[in-house]
């Protein structure tokens, strides 16, 4: 769990990881690398105030180099919201996230469909499973050129899609994608805020964290 200056949902994500039964390790963005880390979550928030472009500055923090290397070697990496933006800026994922069509920050409980239950982070879902998890961002509109989009669709790399109306203008209703190997996933909505019914819409988000746990235990 990496905390950049300006990360906001890091505590919440730590909590979600714990609820899923794993041992979360907080990482400070300035730290180079922690050898015993098995998976990385880049949390939501406004790293460096989201100035310039969301994630554009966080991408250059020391921790990112080693995370990029790890990801290339197959380590599971989940970027949530701002974390998704960082992964795109770091070119671990294709495309980019721009301002919502509505021009406004949007906070709402969003219906999404899991399109690929084959990734390290979605294995505990069924293909086509429908969830409700909070969405909250101002730059959540996913864009990429047609070729890239077709490639993503063709290779099943669209991980999640918005249902009941596209909240932010994302092309092809894309809410989340993954890299070719499926270990790196970027997601706009916040599963960590759907892990405890008392403070969120439900528990639909928990499997993201249990999935990776099983993947790691299985691998070990």
């Amino acid at each position: 769990m990496v905390t950049f200056p300006g990360s906001l949902d890091d505590r919440d994500a730590l909590r979600a990881v714990r609820l899923a039964g794993a041992e979360p390790v907080p990482l400070w963005h300035g730290e180079k690398w922690l050898s015993d880390v098995q998976a990385v979550v880049l949390p939501g928030g406004f790293s460096y105030g989201d100035y310039l472009r969301c994630g554009a500055i966080a991408r250059f923090s020391p921790a990112m180099d080693s995370i990029v290397d790890g990801a290339r070697q197959g380590m599971p990496v989940l970027g949530i919201c701002n974390g998704f933006q960082v992964l795109c800026e770091a070119h671990l994922l294709p495309g980019a996230l721009i301002r919502n069509r509505s021009q406004k920050f949007i906070c709402r409980d969003q219906a999404v469909r899991i399109e690929n239950a084959g990734t390290a982070w979605t294995a505990d879902y069924e293909d086509g499973q429908q969830l409700v998890i909070p969405l909250k961002n101002a730059e959540g509109c996913y864009v990429a050129d047609e070729r890239t989009l077709d490639e993503l669709e063709g290779s099943g790399r669209v991980v999640a899609r918005y249902l009941d109306g596209n909240p932010n203008g994302s092309l092809r209703d894309i809410a989340g994608i993954c890299n070719a190997e499926g270990n790196v996933v970027g997601l706009m909505p916040h599963p960590e805020h759907a892990t405890d019914p008392l403070v969120g819409p439900g528990t639909d988000g928990l499997p993201f964290f249990s999935s990776v746990l099983r993947a790691l235990v299985g691998a070990a």
Partner: protein, 76 residues
């Protein structure tokens, strides 16, 4: 049809957090020799030739900039 460019920048005495953040990032990128960065907005408008400069000024200071904190330049 002509292209008009309007650049909007914060008045010099006004805080520009974004420029500041970029300057610090340049430091981390190991790039020397940049002593200040200010970020503003850049607009490209396609306007009919019969649109007066006065209209453009009106557009700029009612819509594109808030004269209280920003200055703008118009290039036709």
């Amino acid at each position: 049809m002509a292209r008009v460019v309007v650049d909007v920048v914060m008045k010099p005495e006004i805080l520009d957090p974004q420029g500041q953040a970029i300057l610090n990032a340049l430091g981390r990128l190991g790039i020397e020799g940049v002593s200040s960065v200010r970020q503003g907005k850049h607009f490209e408008l396609e306007v009919a030739d019969d649109v007066e400069d006065a209209d453009l000024t009106k557009i700029a200071d009612t819509l594109l900039a808030n004269p209280v904190i920003e200055d703008f330049t118009i290039r036709r």
